[in-house]
């Protein structure tokens, strides 16, 4: 059942990209300013949850595009794998952070690093988990 409000629906359309963008921003700046994978993930999940409330379950599922459970698996794998490069490449302990600074066109100097990969893993897991919970709860409710 959908909430028959044009205003809410439109607001949802408008806020979803805004929130997703905001969440990515929170994720990427987290190492330097408040934010990070967890906070970013929660905001992204909130964005989809907003879709759920302003439209309906199908719309939210479509907006997410992937099955949230897949996000969990991928995110976890990513986070665990981020432990390995230092150990394999340099024989360091697991989770020793590796930094690969590189210069990209347009963006300038970007520091790709295992903590970043780890944080992206966190981001995905948070989105996947929270949405698995929220979406299936909503489904159960119907």
């Amino acid at each position: 059942m959908r909430m028959h409000s044009l205003i809410l629906r439109t607001a949802g359309h408008f806020l979803l990209p805004l929130l997703i963008l905001f969440s990515l921003w929170l994720l990427l700046r987290g190492h330097n300013e408040p934010g990070g994978g967890f906070i970013g993930g929660l905001v992204a999940a909130a964005a989809i949850a907003l879709y759920l409330f302003t439209m309906d379950l199908q719309a939210a599922r479509k907006a997410l595009w992937v099955d949230p459970r897949n996000l969990i698996g991928i995110g976890l794998t990513l986070a665990v794998l981020s432990a390995i490069p230092g150990a394999v490449l340099h024989g360091q302990p697991f989770f020793t952070s590796q930094w690969w600074p590189m210069t990209l066109p347009l963006l300038g100097e970007v520091k790709l690093s295992t903590p970043l990969i780890f944080d992206i893993g966190v981001y995905l897991v948070v989105i996947g988990s929270v949405l698995t919970i929220v979406l299936f709860l909503a489904e159960a409710e119907e």
């Binding site: 330097n32 300013e33 408040p34 967890f38 988990s129 919970i133 709860l137 159960a140």
Partner: protein, 115 residues
């Protein structure tokens, strides 16, 4: 300040416990929320409530300027909040399901498994 915070923590713990001692499973959930908040605030208080700056390094610097509040305690609390959230999510749905299966919001109808 510590006294006030400690009192708040105490009140939260007491409220949490009181709610957990009710027969209603919905109240149990509320108790769990309170419990988690209580424990987090306790860590926060125990690690010292200095009025230092947030643990952020200004752009261009290597270390923060002046005293900052304990970043480790904050990291711990963050982790604890998230864990508490996950656990709570599980508990909430569990209670939802228990209510569905048992058909009552009453702990006293959930004691068949014990003896």
């Amino acid at each position: 300040m510590e006294f006030l915070m400690a009192s708040l923590v105490g009140i939260l713990f007491a409220s949490a416990l009181y709610m957990m001692l009710r027969r209603s499973i919905v109240k149990l959930v509320i108790g769990l929320v309170l419990l988690s908040n209580a424990a987090n605030l306790l860590i926060f208080t125990a690690s010292g409530l200095g009025s230092g700056q947030p643990p952020l390094i200004p752009p261009g610097a290597d270390v923060p300027v002046g005293a900052v509040s304990d970043p480790l305690a904050q990291a711990l609390i963050l982790t604890a909040i998230v864990i508490g959230f996950g656990v709570l999510a599980f508990a909430v749905v569990l209670i939802h399901r228990a209510y569905e299966v048992v058909g009552a919001d009453d702990m006293d109808q959930m004691k068949d498994t014990d003896t």
